[in-house]
Symmetry: C2
């Protein structure tokens, strides 16, 4: 499978991935190489990763606790302190081996350590392969607010090794699949149709490649999120607020990112039907597709009020306005759409129907 | 006084400064404008600043505690939380009004908030005017380690309004003057001679302009500190370690940054005499100049051991080597010079003589 080239680095797949990495390490003369893992990837992925490394390197392994709840400044500070203790310098590098928490946090830690050291991302979840492998977004949460602190900075390379997908349970695969469905909704109706038809997650390689390609095209046209890149936030305005609310709430179990944006895509589908011309049939198709794959969640009136309050922290907002990305049709988007609170509440009623 | 143009922004002086700021604010359509101050600049500088602002803006004032000891991630987190509470969005801007702590920390906070909002620096100390106004270095300390966490990111503009120097005591003025003397040592022997001759700090405007110009030339040639920009670290390798040690130590009073690098410049002058051809006369000139202006400090054997231990955290290090910037002569530098521990100890003996 060919590598995908972004503005500044390449995403290498499977058989090419470790060839590229071994070549890069052999030619980089890093003073030290740190591998950031969480408890899960330490056990399941690190041995696999190590088995592919040629040459002798004294990797230093840094483990953080798994889970979105640890994607915060306190964890960053711990990693910065460990890097200092282990004599990391500006010529050191960090390899982030894990899901979105590890790659988002690790990218931010590396970007700020001594004002920036090089880093390489090896996403191990479907979600991070299709979502975090392109675009250079790094960051951590601030309390319940997702990715409130971070920078845009590019890795040296990204490796997509789909063998790691074997370490994931069905729920985690579903979570990543939601982002792939989003790629269909925002840019390619036939890709949406293809994705809807798959019945299992055994043969994902080509689809992952398509998703990474779609995201790369969008980011290359608009790296700083002035217009087209905003479309990648479809389902995320409400999805992030729902995810944040469930992270804080004691009455709800945590939602995985893909589960939260699956709900967000139904809700914002309804808004699209009301405001930007999405047809009734397409709306029903979106709702049916997601509800067949993701558990239906109940929202109390209080939940909805709190979710709508959290919307004001969305990073696309400006001047007090909440800006939505909506669909004109499947595969076509409209950006910077304002929505009234009444219609937002109506979207939750439609979801509950 | 003409503005100095860097690669991406301008440094405006005195009569031009507020003209440029008022013009910029009027044309920027920021959703909110935050002014970051510390306790001191809140009292002494904010009223002066406000008196120059034309137009109606609801500035939100954020105050942090004064002092290097508060230039850390905990303070950043507090400011990020306040920004979130006050509904800052990506179209908001931050004006950092203060010394190096406020501009370094404020620049870092702005660079990471929602992955980056615009910021403007208004240095109010002599040190931050001549040192922090050019180069885009932002960051905070990690425990005793100076500027261990940060990014390189440029402000929208920098205003140098020398009227703020009236708010400083003699010791703070001396601290900034040390950086100016460094500019002479690393690039211009006649500027060094001019600076040595001044007897008071009443007429600094032209000298500040010269210092900012020197730093700007260096940074424009080497923005990412591969070679020439390293020369700005003259006196800082040992100076930072001394500053860090005194920050941690209960037996010593705090040293201001300029006081610490003044010692560092004598010590590294001695190393230059031993290793890179600085003449005996020039070394004596450097020692005499700094000791006439900065209090002589006593170092115990234990102090020296701890300072040498801290050297390993210097950001110019790589592959376990400590890299010094030394002088070939006054006005001419040599970079990436390795020094033995024995010679480092000898430099402290020379300082104590």
């Amino acid at each position: 499978m060919n590598s995908i080239t972004t503005a500044t680095y390449s995403v290498h797949f499977n058989e090419n991935a470790y060839l590229a990495l071994n070549d890069h390490l052999a030619n980089s003369n890093y003073s030290k190489i740190f591998v950031l893992v969480d408890e899960n990837t330490h056990n399941c992925c690190l041995p696999v990763f190590m088995s592919h490394i040629e040459g002798e390197y004294d990797f230093e392994i840094i483990e953080i606790e798994a889970g979105e709840i640890h994607k915060n400044i306190a964890t960053c500070t711990q990693v910065w302190e460990v890097l200092s203790e282990l004599d990391a310098d500006r010529k050191s590098a960090m390899i982030n081996l894990g899901g979105g928490v590890v790659t988002d946090l690790g990218g931010f830690v590396a970007s700020c350590f001594k004002r920036g050291i090089e880093f390489i991302n090896i996403p191990t979840t479907l979600l991070s392969m299709v979502d975090a492998s392109v675009g250079g977004k790094t960051g951590v949460d601030l309390g319940p607010l997702k990715n409130q602190v971070g920078v845009i900075n590019q890795p040296q390379m990204v490796l997509v090794a789909t063998e790691f997908l074997k370490t994931l349970d069905q729920r985690q695969l579903q979570s990543g699949y939601a982002e792939m469905l989003k790629h269909g909704l925002i840019s390619d109706a036939s890709y949406w149709d293809t994705l809807k038809e798959i019945t299992g997650f055994e043969k994902l390689d080509k689809l992952i490649y398509t998703s990474v390609s779609i995201k790369n095209e969008v980011v290359q046209i608009d790296p700083t999120e002035q217009h087209l890149r905003k479309t990648l936030n479809y389902g995320h305005t409400l999805g992030h607020a729902i995810e944040s609310h469930f992270l804080e709430s004691e009455e709800h179990d945590l939602l995985l990112h893909g589960e939260a944006i699956a709900i967000g895509m139904i809700l914002e589908g309804f808004l699209s039907y009301k405001l930007t011309g999405l047809s009734k049939n397409e709306l029903e198709d979106i709702k049916k597709t997601f509800l067949a794959r993701y558990p239906k969640t109940s929202f109390t009136k209080k939940d909805i009020d709190m979710i709508l309050t959290l919307l004001k922290f969305d990073k696309k907002n400006s001047h007090g306005n909440i800006n939505f990305v909506l669909l004109k049709s499947i595969g076509k988007t409209a950006i910077d759409i304002k929505v009234t609170p009444e219609l937002l509440k109506e979207s939750f009623s439609y979801y509950a129907e």
